[in-house]
């Protein structure tokens, strides 16, 4: 009788395979308890070249004024000074021309926010911070547009009440006033990437995902709008977590910023890009404000952070903001 073998067998029985959520611990490590740490490493990662222009591009690339409320009557020269927080929502409305291909018509089912980012622009514009909000976050949603207040996943605020409800929810949760919102839907995102002439990303592992209609080899490559969209939506890839997806989206946004930088010294091209962009997104910023913001931000650096979070006890597939770290992050943005 081999006691060690019996023990090993018992171990085999008791053993569990690591769940996909283990990736959260990797994120925790990268944050190192300090939510801003990723900020520095983005730059040491050899992307310093993009520094001067990246933040410019958040508004330039992602912002336009389709469906804009008309600017208040008599508004004169655009004043975009002071601290600004811009809520960027990537949504999968899947309605409208060009979107139906990516999934069943969801008009009745409402729209879902897939990507939620608050771009914080401090008054001195020395640097900008893009704060990603995991869509699986369980939060308290205040009463809004006829929907009662409740505890739910944050993107439920958008599904039910649209951008204004999500904005209200985030203002309440973060204590940050949010001045502008930008909604980009899937088709819009695609159009922007194509207007940029494609973006270059490095794909870590080959992708073959019929669900996202995407097949990519590993390695550095230029993605067109269609491929970039698939890459941004990819869910069942890598560790399969939403956090992994957020990381890929950061990567894409970054690539877009880098590409749009090449257009900045050329006002004519910049304007034409913005013109293209405005067709694809929905925002309360008009073209002049965007342009103003864009040029103002040309010396600004952009950092990415994700709101500190931890697993949500009642449901392993959800998460909640980690306190006091999250509160500290918002405080640093005031």
């Amino acid at each position: 009788m081999d006691d060690l073998k019996l023990l090993r067998d018992l171990g085999g029985e008791l053993e569990h395979d690591p769940p996909a959520t283990l990736a959260r611990q990797r994120d925790r490590l990268l944050r190192g308890g300090r939510p801003r740490r990723l900020w520095a490493t983005w730059w040491t990662a050899g992307l310093v070249a993009a520094a001067t222009a990246t933040a410019v591009a958040v508004p330039t690339v992602l912002i336009a004024d389709r469906h804009t409320a008309t600017p208040p009557a008599g508004s004169q020269a655009v004043d975009m000074s002071g601290t600004r927080n811009v809520l960027v929502i990537g949504s999968d409305t899947r309605e409208g021309e060009g979107n139906a291909r990516y999934g069943p018509q969801m008009t009745a089912a409402g729209k879902r926010s897939d990507t939620i980012i608050i771009v914080h622009l401090p008054a001195d514009r020395s640097r900008a911070t893009a704060v990603s909000v995991p869509r699986d976050s369980m939060v308290t949603i205040p009463a809004c547009s006829g929907h009662p207040g409740r505890k739910d996943m944050i993107n439920a605020a958008y599904n039910a009440g649209g951008a204004s409800c999500l904005r209200k929810t985030l203002e309440k949760l973060t204590g940050l006033p949010i001045q502008h919102t930008v909604e980009v839907d899937f088709a819009g995102f695609k159009g922007i990437v194509d207007a940029l002439g494609g973006v270059e990303v490095t794909v870590a592992k080959p992708v073959d995902d019929p669900k996202a209609k995407l097949k990519l080899p590993a390695g550095k490559q230029v993605l067109n709008g269609e491929a970039a969209l698939g890459y941004a939506r990819l869910r069942y890839h890598g560790d399969g977590s939403d956090i992994g997806r957020i990381r890929r989206q950061h990567q894409l946004v970054f690539a877009m910023l880098k590409k749009s930088m090449t257009m900045l010294n050329d006002p004519a091209r910049l304007k034409s890009l913005l013109g293209e962009v405005r067709k694809s997104v929905k925002t309360d910023l008009n073209l002049e404000s965007m342009y103003e913001l864009a040029t103002e931000l040309s010396e600004t650096k952009l950092g990415f952070v994700t709101i500190p979070w931890e697993p949500y006890a009642e449901d392993k597939n959800r998460l909640q903001w980690k306190q006091p770290e999250a509160a500290k992050l918002f405080k640093s943005l005031k």
Binding site: M1, D3, L4, L6, L7, R8, D9, L10, G11, G12, E13, L14, E15, H16, D17, P18, P19, T21, L22, R24, Q25, R26, R28, L29, L30, G32, G33, R37, L38, T41, W42, T44, A45, V201, T202, V203, A204, A218, R247, H250, Q251, P311
Partner: protein, 192 residues
Amino acid sequence: MILQAATRGADSELVCASWTDPEVFAELFDRYSAMLYRYVSKRLGPEPAEDLVGETFLVAFSRRKSYDLAYEDARPWLFGILTKLISRHHRKEAARYRALLRAPVDSDIESPADRVAAGVTAQAVRAELAGALAALPAKDRDVLLLIAWGDLTYEEVAQALGIPVGTVRSRLNRGRRKVRAALGDANPMEEE
């Protein structure tokens, strides 16, 4: 944030590189988090395992500058940190083994094929094994399980726990003797 497809170098090189480029440390996580998770899941079950693995790497990260680069393999170092963290949960661990004493032997989660492959015999004596593990002093159990469940060598266990190899041997022998005794070995005292 895409890490370069690194040609696999020694762990010590990664630790060293992480001194100047902290993000490199994540590569160690990619190498060993699953292995550590499996180990904790055996001792404490799946719920605390995730958090403990995360904590192990946080502690390791904060101590990366005192890592002895002479050791190419970082596993003993990580297991050492993890063992300390597990020791805070000793009540939970003992309760887990005691629960096995009571649990019915049959489990329909595993297929019969798995059972044949992974331990019909271990299943038959599960209660005895669990009882013996629950009764072991923590120091002896750490050594025994690092070898049986962590697949470390004597030298690696010594390194992980910061004790001489001779001590590893004596603790291991003591632990195994008790396990054999629990299994009804005719001569439990033979080596004493």
